[in-house]
Structure formats: C-alpha cells, structure tokens
Symmetry: C2
Subunit: 318 residues, 2 copies
C-alpha cells in the first residue's frame, strides 16, 4: 500500500481519513487546516485538527459531528451562569484536550510537536500534522465586514453570505519539516471532500506545500481530489453557498475547476454523472462512485476506491 | 458601622471576611494577596481571590477548604487520562471562573475590573480587590532552590523548609486607584489571620499600600491585626513552620512583632494569654478572645468583636 497524505478540513476530511486509516494504517498522514484555530478563554482551540484526531481515535461524537462522545457540559453550564451563554461550547472532556495543549504550547513546544504528542496520547496510529506552526487565521468578508472564521461559522451559524476570504498570516507562514517529509514520502496525495474555499485553500496557501505537491507529482505521485459537493449541495457546512457567493459553480464541476491545476484525478458522486464530461474536459481522470460516508463501512469502501483509483493514475506534468 | 477594609490571604482571611460581611455588609472591602496567582494551562488562576470570593458568595467547599461546593472533576479526570496526574486540580465549575476571567483579561480588562465584575456575577455584596493590577509572584527559597509559590505550596505540599521569600515584581508594582479609594474611605482596617509571610507581606510590599494605611491612621483610623497563630500553630497552612525557619517566633507574639509598626490593636486567642504582656509591650492594644472560626456563628462573633475592639482604639502615630 502507498503512503498516503491527505489534506483535510473537519468532518468530511475526518471521515475519509478514518477510511484511509482502515486502508493504510500507520502509512497515513493527515495535514489539517489550522486557519480555523482560535484562542478562546486563553485556550488554544484547533477545531479541524481535533475533529480529525478524535475521529481517528474513535472518540468522536458521530451524531453531533464535533467534539467527543459521552461528553458532559458542566463547565459551559457554569459559564452560562456567570455570563451570557457561550456561543462556542466546549465539552468537559474536550476541555481537557485544550488545557493540555495550551500548557504544552506555553512550555514552548511547536504546534506540530504538540499534535504528534496528542496523537500518541489519544492512541492514533496515523500522523496528524497542522499545515504550519505559524499563526494563520481565516477571515471572511460579509455584508457586515470582515469576520473571524469561527465568528462566522459558529456564532453566526454561517448565515451571512461570504463575499471574500483571506488567510491572515498565510503569506508569511511556511509549512513544517514534518509536512515536507510526509509529502516527500507520499505515494498518493488525497484532497479530502472538505470545503475547498476555507478548508483546503488555506493549506495550499502555506509556503512550501504547493511546491512539495508539485515535486511529488514530478516523481509520479498522483493527486486525487474528492468532491465535497454532491448533487449541488455540501454534505456538511456552507461550501455550496460559499462557492456560489464567490462566483463559482456549486457543483462537482465547480470544485473540480478549483483543483484542475493541483490534481490528476477527481472523485465525484454517481448523482453527479452529468458533470463527468466537463470534469474530464479539465484534464482530470475521474472516478464516479457513492461518495457519501454514512458509516464505518462506507468510509473504508470509499477510501479503498480512492487509493485504488489513485494507484491507477500517472500524473501528467504541466 | 465603619467601612472596613480587610487585608487577606486565603482561608483565614476568607472566614473573617465572611464574618465581617455579616457585620458591615456592603461596607466591606477585602484587599487580597495576588502573589500566589499563577497561569496554568493558559488560564489565570487566582487562589486567594477565589477563596475569598467563593466564601463571600456562600459557594465555597468548607470541608475541602478551597474551590466550590458541589464540585465535579470531569476535566481533571480526562486530563489525567491524557497526561500525568495534574498536581493543581481545578474542578469543573471552578474552571468556568478561570475561563471567564482569562477571557476578560485577554479582552484587555484590568484585573481589578475583572474582580469587580466577577463579584457581581457571584452575587457578592462586598468588594474584593486584588492588591495590584501588576504581576507579582511570590517565590520561596528552599534547600532545592527558588520555587514558585504554588510549586512549593501545592505540588510539594509545603514540605521543604523556607529559607527566604521574595515577591518578584513587587518593587515595580503599584496598587490601584480602587485600593487607595477603599483605604481612604475606611473607618477600620483589619489584617486577617492569614500567613504574615506570604499572604500579608506581599500586600504590604506593593507601592502605595503602606503609605495609604499610614495616612488612614493619621486620620484616626485604627488598624487591627488578628493572629493566625494559635497555641504556637497555624490553624491552616505552613505559617508556623515558615515563621520558625525564617527566624521568627511561631507564636502570637512572633506575629505581633511583625505587625508592631503597622497596627494599633492585636487580637490573640485566649490560649495565648501568656503572650499578652509581650504583645502589649510592643505598644499594641490587645483583645483576647476565641479566634478559631469553626462555623458561621463564630465567624460573625469574632468579626463583631474585632470591629468593636477597633472602634475603641485611637491610633498613636509614631
């Protein structure tokens, strides 16, 4: 089996990562978006990282879609008694992660090192790496002005239309030796069915990552992107509305256009068969299958298909 | 009733404050030691402040002696699963205080403002003020070298002998307009039966406080100190051993010597009757009574006696 590197945001990336873990085990490295990270009450909160890590550890709450299973809310309930209701709710057990991580970061440990240590403590066989150790913050411009990502995503429940997106700090940020090493060792690179605008684009905006992916393709390592838009709708989150309000097409083809330069293969859902010719017209090989991951079996099945599809590809270098 | 200002550390100061609250209500201001404060997991922890605040709010755990009643430990239990057992245990409900406070401080609010806001949220009728808005850290020198206070107090359980004490940052720190205003409005100043070395001395080390107390005395405002040493032993904590290892006498007389310049009156326990002549020989008026506060009634009774004693005194200015 090839060493697989997945670029991932939150839930969709986590589900496919879980399938890839079943397929390639410790040969999986997930590079997670850290543009959604925030400091709240002094604590370092890494939403996409933790969704991936908890899912890979089998500790995630599948129903809620974020945080830990068997969670309690004593701290937040008490916080609500002290103040207005917190808009970003942190479970008691989840808080332990944030306390531990914040302590390690204050000790001076690099975020990457902290992520590796946490994965070991959570018993994760795969490697989960932040895209950078530098601070990058995704912000979206709405009709109310620029908002921090979580302010838009959680507090305003993605209600405002997104007019523009920026990744503050990205132009000065560089990726890590660990990410570069993972891409150098990769036999297959997978772009998760995450939001292309605010989950994948920040990763690609970090100095060194696009170059390392291009170098991998020159070594005949294929890049496969999986559509997070199925039947014109995002399975989770605001990607569909965001694509539309930013002038893209909210469809598998619209997503494929964003990845046309980056990827060799594209995975679309069978409901999007009509998009297939257009996607192939972009120069992308296609795999059409059921991409909706409803349970462990469908995660593993999709991951296996993605790996098989990827291994069949040979990058054509521009 | 006079406006009362109490200088206080943790448990002993909190109990007397509770009695004073019963006696003078909203006319009580407690100035708390912040030299024991620490940042843990990125959170601002104020041990003495919170002991006083929780006690005045009627939320304290009287049996444990710190933290909140009806506490749960989900976060710490999970933290122990992630890492070694935390030596500084924070209850779930207590954590809400630290999260809320850290958030407010990160917003740029002064510690004093944050303390006032918290008191309102906790429903405290009295005012609780940190001694300073500046960072001051009590450190103790042991045979293992200098230790941060909580490292000595909690982690090492006060086992090492204390050879020297310093208040890092105190010489550059100044007190707040709120503390000065409280001392200017005071009709009586009470030094709590707290540890004179590490609870009261840091307060007195802050620029402006000793001067404001002296000015009050020139206005005929008496200062009454209450011994935290009864029968040669501290009722709580390591004050007795600390006094001895620093070359003081671990007795009511030993405490009185430390306050001889500051105070007009001194309250000692009836079991220390033999110390009375020595204390009066220092120029201090004395009140001898039962100083051990075992319940609400004994807190209120001692506070009432302290206030009555104080009102009988007229400072003799050196």
């Amino acid at each position: 089996m090839p060493r697989v590197v997945e670029l991932a945001g939150g839930v969709g990336g986590a589900k496919l990562a879980d399938g890839l873990l079943a397929e390639v085990g410790a040969d999986l490295t997930v590079i997670v978006n850290s543009g959604d990270d925030l400091v709240l009450h002094g604590l370092a909160i890494w939403p996409d990282h933790d969704t991936v890590a908890y899912t890979l550890a089998g500790l995630d709450d599948a129903v809620r879609g974020w945080g830990l299973a068997n969670e309690t809310w004593t701290v937040m309930d008490r916080l609500a008694e002290l103040d207005e209701e917190p808009w970003f709710r942190l479970g008691d057990r989840d808080l332990a992660t944030h306390l531990w991580r914040t302590g390690r970061l204050r000790d001076g440990a690099r975020p990457t090192v902290v992520a590796i240590e946490l994965a070991r403590r959570l018993g994760i066989a795969a490697t989960v790496l932040p895209m950078t150790d530098d601070e990058v913050r995704t912000e979206v411009r709405t009709d109310d002005g620029w908002l921090e990502f979580q302010e838009y995503f959680v507090h305003r429940r993605q209600a405002p239309d997104v007019r523009e997106v920026r990744f503050r700090g990205a132009s000065e940020a560089s990726t890590t030796p660990e990410v570069i090493a993972a891409l150098e060792a990769a036999g297959l690179i997978v772009v998760a069915p995450s939001n292309p605008i605010v989950s994948i684009a920040p990763i690609l905006a970090i100095g060194g990552i696009v170059g390392a992916i291009a170098a991998a393709r020159r070594r005949d390592v294929p890049v496969v992107a999986v559509s997070g838009i199925v039947g014109g709708r995002a399975l989770k989150g605001p990607a569909d509305r965001m694509l539309a309000s930013l002038g893209h097409e909210s469809s598998a083809l619209g997503v494929a256009r964003l990845y046309a330069e980056l990827a060799d293969g594209f995975v679309l859902d069978t409901v999007d068969a009509a998009s297939r010719p257009g996607i192939e017209g972009l120069g992308l090989a296609t795999l059409m299958t059921d991409t909706v991951m409803t349970d462990d079996a469908s995660r593993a099945r999709l991951a296996a298909e993605v790996v098989r599809f990827g291994r069949s590809l040979h990058p054509v270098h521009a």
